[in-house]
């Protein structure tokens, strides 16, 4: 579980170009300045590749913080 958290944060860190140490479970679109619509698209692609999942169309727009990402990764990895 900890491993998954780290992986998600690593993906976020590289896509948004922020230090891994600045990210935590509270990280969201509101506190990551670089999180714009184009990077959001890259985030989705990177998450799908990293966890070998497909994020459903209607969920794409909702993944705006760590907790929601974690939730969808859990759901789709089943």
């Amino acid at each position: 579980m900890e491993n998954q958290k780290l992986k998600i944060l690593e993906v976020m860190s590289s896509v948004f170009e922020v230090e891994l140490t600045s990210l935590n479970e509270e990280s969201s679109i509101d506190n990551i300045e670089n999180w714009d619509s184009l990077r959001h698209l890259n985030l989705i692609l990177a998450l799908e590749e990293e966890f070998n999942i497909t994020i459903p169309d209607e969920e794409v727009g909702d993944l705006v913080n760590y907790k929601l990402i974690n939730l969808i990764v859990n759901e789709q990895s089943k």
């Binding site: 993906v11 590289s14 698209l41 989705i44 990293e50 169309d57």
Partner: protein, 579 residues
């Protein structure tokens, strides 16, 4: 590259960004679809070659306009995608009549010409061919779209611009398959049709071009002998038992490879041997074996001895007076390949596949990526050239300058003032526009509505259309007039990036100022507030004739006596006033 995940590429790219190399390289990506994820991938690919990349992405769907300001780069990519072209004309291309298709084709060809004229000083322009593969088509015959795309590609292949490199997108799609190349989830929202896998394979497609333009192209290819140029070990099996004949099942692959090697040596790539053998055995094979294709004439250097291959390759490089990293090395042994890789990480190696039927194509892929051995485009073109010349002259005569191109678009501006029905769109534009935005103030719908209902605040807008389509409401200017009515302040001025570069802003401001003059305004104040994205308009007010009255790092304030203002001389934009 293709074996790496996107996140890995991002991380490795960030790591390498800390290094600073001797070579700088700038590239700009012009596109009519969103290709932002390509940026880090190409950066990483350049950094791997010890090059400092400076990659910029042009304004969305502004290829022609951006090509004017991009000529000082080392390289310009043009992603002129058929998807966005056809989306602008119809939901179903097959339903279009022939005339509209012809007209559209003519427009695109003229634009291609114009882009290449604008970029003629750019050392290299990588232009992607058009592909119809994004849209499903029946297996039989040809659709109109396929015909259309084929005619555009014929045109591209007929061009003679020396700096032009065409990347055949269809070949990438062959390799990966449609489902791996396109991801339409983000197409409606972000106009981003391509997957990360596509971009990773695209890097392979442009590898040889990148090596060439960065001066890192490989100059020599060095082959081992046993089980590399022929099947078998000459020292053990004997000269009569080794095979390289086109007529034996084991020899065929080696025959093919020797033909390729001979072709390489005839086309300016140095071919050499590096083998652990008795020199006399190898000499005997070269001189006497009846199936040998390569001859002593083709082989510029031989290191046939029992020393380790890394040392031999180093000596070969020294003798040929090239860097070790300019060498390609082909060998069948894991041991030798790994030894060489370890000693010279920048020396590219190719290991002969265990299954010899994979050898030819594997080697070809390796050679095409790393050397400048591309079938000379010039030669291929010459025959076609004369035929095409005629057609192109006609197209070029249509537009010999940017102005005549813009005027051919028959642009119309529909200008509104304080139009209630536009409130949501105006607010949205203030929220979304970053590049052509002088002050970047964001407004809610309620605020815009207040301006519209006030007597001293005015919201001017323009909807833009041309003969190829309608861009809708894309220009906004918000002006506050003081109590006495003598001083007007331009609070906001912004324009969607889709219509930048057509001189619309000048004609629009003429109209705004005309109104202000008519209500008795004497002085116009304005300001520019710098952001990370609006640098392109930093001198816009200077262009209009404003004087700077106050200046700080990220902020300029201006003033203009309205009677000093000179209208633009642009006549080719039609104005339709609705107030």
């Amino acid at each position: 590259m293709e074996s790496l995940k996107y996140t890995e590429i991002l991380q490795l790219n960030k790591e390498l960004a800390k290094e600073s190399y001797n070579t700088d390289f700038s590239a700009k990506i012009l596109s009519n679809v969103t290709v932002n994820s390509f940026k880090e991938i190409i950066e990483y690919s350049l950094r791997l070659k010890k090059i400092n990349p400076k990659i910029e992405i042009g304004n969305f769907d502004n290829i022609v306009q951006d090509s004017i300001i991009s000529s000082d780069c080392n390289l310009v990519f043009v992603f002129y995608d058929i998807l966005n072209i056809i989306d602008n004309v119809s939901g179903y291309f097959e339903s279009l009549d022939e005339n509209s298709i012809l007209e559209l084709a003519q427009k695109i060809k003229s634009e291609i010409d114009l882009i290449l004229i604008n970029l003629k000083a750019t050392p290299t322009v990588i232009f992607n061919t058009f592909s119809a593969a994004s849209i499903v088509s029946p297996f039989v015959n040809q659709t109109r779209l396929e015909q259309f795309v084929a005619s555009l590609n014929d045109y591209l292949y007929g061009l003679t611009a020396k700096n032009l490199v065409l990347v055949n997108i269809d070949k990438i799609i062959f390799e990966l398959g449609r489902a791996q190349v396109f991801d339409f989830r983000f197409y409606q929202s972000s106009k981003a049709p391509y997957t990360i896998s596509f971009f990773k394979t695209y890097i392979r497609a442009i590898e040889s071009t990148i090596l060439k333009v960065t001066g890192k192209v490989k100059k020599a290819i060095i082959f081992d002998c046993d089980n590399t140029l022929w099947k078998g070990v000459v020292g053990e099996d004997g000269i009569e038992n080794i095979q390289m004949s086109a007529n034996t099942s084991f020899g065929k692959a080696f025959y093919d490879v020797q033909c390729i090697a001979k072709h390489l040596s005839k086309n300016g790539i140095l071919v050499g041997l590096c083998s652990k053998n008795n020199l006399s055995d190898v000499e005997e094979v070269i001189n006497k074996h009846k199936d040998m294709i390569l001859s002593n004439e083709d082989i510029i250097i031989k290191r046939v001895n029992w020393n380790d291959k890394a040392t031999n390759l180093q000596e070969i490089a020294a003798e040929l007076n090239i860097g070790v990293d300019s060498i390609l090395f082909v060998d069948d042994s894991d041991y030798e390949i790994n030894l060489v890789k370890e000693r010279f990480p920048d020396l590219k190696t190719f290991q002969v596949p265990k299954n010899s039927y994979l050898y030819k194509n594997g080697l070809l892929d390796f050679v095409y990526q790393n050397t400048s051995l591309v079938v000379s485009v010039e030669d291929l073109k010459k025959t076609e050239q004369y035929k095409e010349q005629f057609v192109r002259e006609i197209a070029k005569n249509n537009f010999d300058s940017m102005d005549s191109y813009i005027s051919s678009l028959k642009i119309k501006l529909d200008i509104h003032k304080n139009n209630q029905s536009q409130v949501p769109r105006v607010s949205q534009l203030t929220q979304k526009t970053n590049q052509f935005n002088l002050t970047t103030v964001r407004y809610t719908e309620i605020e815009i509505e207040e301006f519209i209902n006030s007597n001293t605040k005015h919201v001017f807008t323009a909807a833009v259309s041309d003969k190829f389509g309608d861009s809708g409401l894309t220009v906004v200017c918000i002006v506050f007039i003081d109590k006495d009515g003598a001083i007007a302040t331009i609070d906001s001025l912004l324009m969607s990036c889709r219509i930048i570069g057509r001189n619309i802003e000048f004609v629009f401001m003429d109209q705004v100022f005309q109104f202000l003059r008519s209500v008795g305004v004497k002085i116009i104040d304005s300001k520019f507030i710098s952001t990370a994205k609006n640098n392109q308009v930093s001198d816009f007010y200077e262009k209009l004739g404003f004087s700077v009255i106050k200046k700080s790092d990220n902020h300029k304030e201006y003033s203009l006596d309205i009677h000093q203002y000179q209208n633009s001389t642009i006549e080719y934009i039609e104005i339709n006033k609705n107030y």
